[in-house]
């Protein structure tokens, strides 16, 4: 069997954070090659290097036996690489035939569109994968599984020999997934090579020929799928030593501050969550991307209000319908996307720090600028925020310092509960341990902390208890003593009691 794709010793860093370290990977014609790993293990980065969306810092990419020096989406596509993502990337207002034809219009004089030919081509490609879809319908009229089939047809139309599928079954009902598997097997029979990314280890077992496991940016193993079982895969995915020392302090845990009783929100897919957080306690919220952790945080902060269950705060049932109500009740939320919504990059450090307490800092609408300066200087000192001055725009600070400014803004509200969404994502090691130390201090002061993190060592190192989410619901709650990387990941993957 020929090799369709060969990556050798690929490395890639973003802003000093190493995403891939010397990864080698090979895709043969006529195989389904599974790619597995935790959140942030480097799967997406690897795929983006194959498709040319990112350029590797080091290493070589060979497609169809040819070394590709200057990869770009155009080059990789012309060499027969196509990618299909979780969310179909189609043009909703164009018809199926137009979508399939896009980028492959005839090159004749005037580039005139030949409608008949275009339709016939789309029909032929859809028939090849056994899909019965009217090629004249606009894509927006199709269901999600149908759109996925159109994407596959489009990839085949581009004469793709290496097909990348990123969690294609994540949003498919079982019957459509079976249909997809049938198509994948057929394509494999026709000599197409498929890179298949999925968290559903069960489906990999029946579908994949080989599997490569990524962990922390390295390829730790490539095995024949038949030779590994699920427990072995999970071990490979997490098998790292916890080297960082977390400044976890033993804090006397107080009364229950926040209690969720069957909280759900249909709009964001959160279902029946029962969870409590006590004063001085750090509860880690673990799970895969899309498991509903951020969605739960947004429910608690009133961004997508709960439509079932009960939220009890300090012994009193409360309704949280807007963020300003949440703030008034003493809930703080430091969002995940720091550079977008955590701090306002154009505004000064001081103005960022005071933004959530403007009401407290003003009398009859008049801002107490002196008080604002005092507040900002207090937190700049306490958190050792490195800024030229408190009047510098927050955008001029480093990521770690921006995160501290975001924290300062919320601590200024003197919250009872603080929700931290990926508090240390993308910041350097030094700033990371400082943030961890701050979290310890806050817990010691009696704050209830709910920490969302995709980094298992951080979850294990900082949490008193760990709640694991899977598909919008709570899969289980682990005490600090009983939690291991394996037990957390097994719950996150939906295998109750496995591993």
């Amino acid at each position: 069997m020929g090799t369709l794709l060969r990556l050798t010793e690929i490395s890639k860093a973003f802003d000093g954070v190493q995403a891939l370290r010397g990864v080698s990977f090979e895709l043969r014609a006529g195989e389904v090659h599974a790619l597995v790993g935790e959140n942030g293990a480097g799967k997406s980065t690897l795929i983006k290097i194959v498709t040319g969306a990112h350029r590797a810092d080091a290493g070589t990419v060979e497609i169809g036996g040819r070394a590709v020096v200057e990869n770009s989406p155009l080059v990789s596509r012309s060499l027969g690489v196509a990618a299909i993502y979780q969310q179909p990337a189609l043009f909703p207002d164009l018809t199926v035939a137009e979508n399939v034809a896009l980028g492959f219009e005839p090159r004749g004089a005037w580039r005139r569109v030949r409608w008949g030919e275009r339709r016939a081509r789309a029909r032929g490609l859809l028939e090849r994968i056994g899909a019965r879809i009217d090629e004249d319908l606009p894509v927006s009229a199709l269901t999600m599984p149908e759109q996925q089939l159109v994407e596959i047809a489009r990839a085949l139309g581009a004469d793709a020999r290496a097909l990348i599928m990123d969690e294609p079954t994540a949003s498919l009902p079982e019957r459509d997934a079976d249909n997809l598997f049938r198509i994948i097997r057929e394509l494999r029979g026709q000599g197409v090579g498929i890179i298949y990314i999925s968290h559903r280890l069960d489906e990999l077992a029946s579908l994949a020929d080989r599997v490569t496991v990524l962990r922390d940016g390295s390829a730790v193993a490539t095995r024949a799928m038949k030779e590994v079982d699920r427990a072995e895969l999970i071990r490979l995915m997490v098998g790292r030593e916890i080297s960082t020392v977390f400044p976890k302090r033993s804090v006397k845990v107080g009364e229950t501050v926040l209690e969720l009783r069957g909280v759900g929100c249909r709009a964001s897919g959160v279902r029946g969550v029962n969870l409590s957080v006590r004063a001085g306690e750090i509860v880690g919220l673990a799970g895969l991307v899309g498991a509903g952790r951020t969605e739960l945080a947004r429910v608690l902060f009133g961004l997508t209000p709960a439509d079932s269950g009960e939220i009890v705060l300090g012994g009193r049932a409360v309704a949280i319908r807007t963020p300003s109500q949440a703030v008034a009740l003493g809930i703080a939320y430091v969002p995940e996307d720091r550079r977008r919504h955590g701090v306002i990059l154009d505004m000064a450090v001081a103005a960022n720090a005071s933004l959530a307490v403007l009401r407290r800092l003003s009398r009859l609408g008049f801002l107490d600028l002196e008080g604002e300066r005092t507040l900002a200087e207090e937190y700049v000192g306490k958190f050792s925020i490195k800024a030229a001055s408190i009047e510098s725009p927050a955008g001029t600070l480093s990521g770690g310092n921006q995160q501290k400014v975001a924290l300062a803004r919320w601590l200024a509200t003197k919250p009872r509960v603080i929700i931290l969404d990926e508090p240390t994502q993308g910041i350097d090691v030094g700033a990371k341990s400082e943030i961890h130390r701050l979290m310890g201090d806050l817990a010691a002061e009696g704050m209830a902390i709910l920490m969302i993190s995709s980094e298992l060592p951080e979850v294990l190192g900082m949490s008193d208890r760990i709640a694991v989410m899977h598909q919008g619901a709570l899969a289980g709650i682990l005490e600090r003593a009983e939690a291991t990387q394996e037990t957390i990941l097994a719950l996150a993957l939906g295998h109750r009691g496995a591993a």
């Binding site: 961004l303 977008r340 800092l361 609408g365 801002l367 001055s389 803004r409």
Partner: protein, 324 residues
């Protein structure tokens, strides 16, 4: 960077426009000293006063990352309303108050459509611009409104009237220049314009903020219209034609970023003065008046281009800091 240079850096844009304005004044002092002889300067100030008041309102709207192109029509309507109210014999203070309220109501209509229904402000205000304008034309057929004697310069005579107009605009300008820094509401405008989602997460209600900026814009347009109308014995129902572009141009030249969240009323003031002086300056420099629009256009282009350039520079500087 020390604290002091940092402060200056923040005012960079306002300073460079002020520098350009100073350069123009110096050029005139050298090439056409007659410019300072008559009451030319006073005329510029008086005719700029209404534009300044509207520009302050526009600064708020643009800071909140919106735009209002209906102010020309609002301006005309408010002027006509003021003329009628005065002609009906109402005392001038009441006329002024009602005109401002009328402008505020038109602004509230814009605000409700933009903030309440979430429609894009350029489309909403385009629609209200046309409807206000046509309603006025249907009502007036272009006929002027004759004001009573005490309407002309508030019945105070030209000198005192002029002083009142300029002082009124100055007070409004000072109040807003200070308020945007010193009021919680001003801070909220900047936050919403920079990142509405972040502001919402911080417990600010962006919809409310946007609504009130449009109301303020309308009220200030009403006031501006009054300050402009009293300069003539009768009110021309087309007096607001083209005002929106004049005002937006001045605000943008003054360094208020169209992308929201950055700029000050001080910048808007310098922008208004600079653009208003081009026409008279050309006359004194014996350059044909046809060049006025072309030069104004060039100034706007330079201003916007320098914004884009600065932004790129800042991005690079920011990236460097992050890497360190």
């Amino acid at each position: 960077m020390t604290n002091k240079t940092n402060r200056l850096f923040c005012w960079k844009r306002e300073l460079s426009v002020a520098g350009a304005y100073g350069g123009l004044l110096l050029l005139l002092a050298g090439a056409a000293p007659d410019f300072y002889a008559g009451d030319k300067f006073r005329t510029i100030l008086v005719s700029s006063a209404p534009v300044l008041v509207a520009a302050v309102g526009m600064t708020l709207v643009i800071l909140a990352r919106h735009i209002d192109i209906s102010i020309g029509s609002q301006f005309s309507i408010c002027g006509v309303v003021a003329g009628f109210l005065a002609a009906a014999g109402l005392p001038m203070p009441l006329v002024a108050a009602l005109t401002v309220v009328g402008g505020g109501l038109m602004g509230a209509a814009n605000g409700a459509l933009v903030a309440g229904l979430g429609l894009p402000s350029i489309v909403v205000t385009l629609a209200t611009m046309v409807s206000f304008q046509e309603a006025l034309r249907w009502e007036r057929q272009g006929a002027k409104v004759m004001g009573p004697p005490d309407f002309y310069w508030f019945g105070l005579g030209q000198t005192a009237g002029q002083l009142l107009v300029v002082a009124g605009a100055g007070v409004v300008f000072a109040a807003f220049a200070w308020g945007l820094r010193g009021l919680a509401a001003g801070r909220a405008v900047y936050a919403v314009g920079s990142d509405a989602e972040a502001a919402r997460l911080a417990g600010i209600r962006p919809g409310r903020v946007v609504f009130w900026t449009f109301v303020t814009m309308g009220a200030l347009t009403g006031l501006a219209s009054l300050l402009a109308a009293v300069r003539f014995p009768d009110v021309d129902p087309n007096m607001g034609k083209g005002l929106e572009l004049q005002v937006i141009a001045a605000v943008v030249v003054g360094g208020v970023a169209i992308s929201g969240g950055r700029g000050t009323p001080v910048g808007a003031l310098v922008g208004v003065l600079l653009l208003a002086s081009i026409g008279p300056a050309l006359a004194f420099l014996r350059i044909p008046a046809q060049w006025e629009k072309a030069i104004q256009g060039a100034i706007i282009l330079v201003a916007v281009a320098s914004d884009a350039f600065n932004l790129r520079l800042r991005r690079h500087a920011g990236a460097g800091l992050v890497a360190r």
